[in-house]
Symmetry: C2
Subunit: 221 residues, 2 copies
DNA sequence: GGACGATATACTGTATACAGTATAAAAACA
DNA sequence: TGTTTTTATACTGTATACAGTATATCGTCC
């Protein structure tokens, strides 16, 4: 049990700060921490049952991914995005996904595609149950998984970071969710394009999907 | 002296952690902190004359930009890049610069271009004096400035992050620096393309520049 | 002699205490 | 009454102390 067992970190040995990062991300996307809101370390720490040290480290992580702003001696604020910033970010996400498409087609094997299907199904299940946050996370995970097939770490990380930054706005964009059935159909199309190894079809549906996202999100910016 | 004086943080009110981040970045690109090297908080803190708290926050920042790896309970290691990762990153940087080119051409006004020239001249001055690190920083600042003209924050930040990650390898790539005069000429070309408002010329020289970078860097990966 | 287990050491993870700085409130002055 | 100075308060920035965990060393048993 030497070679395979100690490869990946076995048990949940997450550091506290890591968990706090997760938690704060959720709180931001769900709106419990509103954009522009001041974050007082003491209060938030107490609320989470965590001392200031790990909380501060978490805030620093979030600052690095542009989810909170850290102004010296004046504390942390939840980042506020202008409409242009949202548009620019979505535009860049589209660029990255376009870049990923041919790579994904080249690399995807049947297991990857099966995995993608699983993700999609799980996502739909959460949607049915009305668990919006979980649904949303899997939605983003689905897109991340497609970009992940590119096997280009730099690309993957840029995409992840951008996606993380726009999570909140896209979350509220799904509030009405009349475009939802279309989104689900597009996911199916993506899987089909991968199976058919049709990189142009994949790139096209990704682009279309992002355009729809912008439509949904536009009014909330 | 109320309105203009207290607009931006007047005196050096940088937090300690921020300065530590800067310092560590330099130490990594200069090789004083070798790739794969273990970072012991106590030792490094003492060496920098800083307590562990700000040092830890700095490490967390660097971890977020993928310059160090943070494994739970086992401390921090300087990130090691595989050749493929370097190639992928440079490839992505090229993509982002290509995206930025038309935007930069559209937005650049004479002052911007003058600023760029200043940057280039200062860079050359440092090169002449043999101050490699400063030369290098201005070199990267030059590229950042061009991308900055796109006025697309998401694009700018992605580019900055990627550039930061590849700083070390590009630094050693300039060791021989026989391609240096060519690089300088290409910078001139970029400025000329901006003045001529020729987005295709700008995109082309950016692409060529990046290809040369890869040539220089290749053997060190 | 080699392998396994117990103990010791060293380093990270977290909490807390103290110092410095900014903002808010109050008081003094015009 | 409006404005400026002073004082108080609250929060961040940093250091340090303590607890938990991993690794190394040594001893013991087979």
């Amino acid at each position: 049990m030497t070679t395979s067992a100690n490869r990946r970190p076995p048990i949940a040995r997450n550091k506290l700060a890591e968990q706090v990062v997760e938690r704060l991300r959720d709180m931001i996307t769900e709106g419990h921490l509103a954009p522009g809101e001041r974050i007082v370390e003491g209060d938030l720490g107490e609320q989470l049952g965590v001392s200031r040290t790990p909380l501060r480290e978490a805030l620093r992580s979030l600052a690095a991914e542009e989810l909170v702003e850290l102004t010296p001696s004046r504390g942390a604020y939840v980042r506020r995005f202008t409409p242009k910033e949202v548009a620019d970010a979505l535009d860049l996400i589209a660029l990255l996904e376009a870049k990923a498409a041919p790579l994904a087609v080249a690399n995807a094997n049947p297991e990857d595609i099966a995995q993608l299907r699983l993700l999609h199904d799980a996502m739909m299940a959460y949607y049915g149950k009305g668990e919006r946050l979980q649904y949303f996370k899997l939605n983003q995970a689905f897109h991340s998984a497609i970009v992940g097939l590119s096997r280009n770490m730099a690309l993957i990380q840029c995409h992840t970071r951008l996606q993380s930054g726009q999570k909140r706005i896209r979350y509220v964009g799904h509030e009405g969710a009349d475009g939802w059935s279309g989104a689900a159909a597009e996911h199916e199309e993506m899987i089909a394009a991968l199976e058919a190894r049709d990189e142009h079809a994949l790139a096209e549906v990704l682009r279309r999907h992002m355009a729809h996202t912008w439509d949904r999100v536009r009014e909330f910016t």
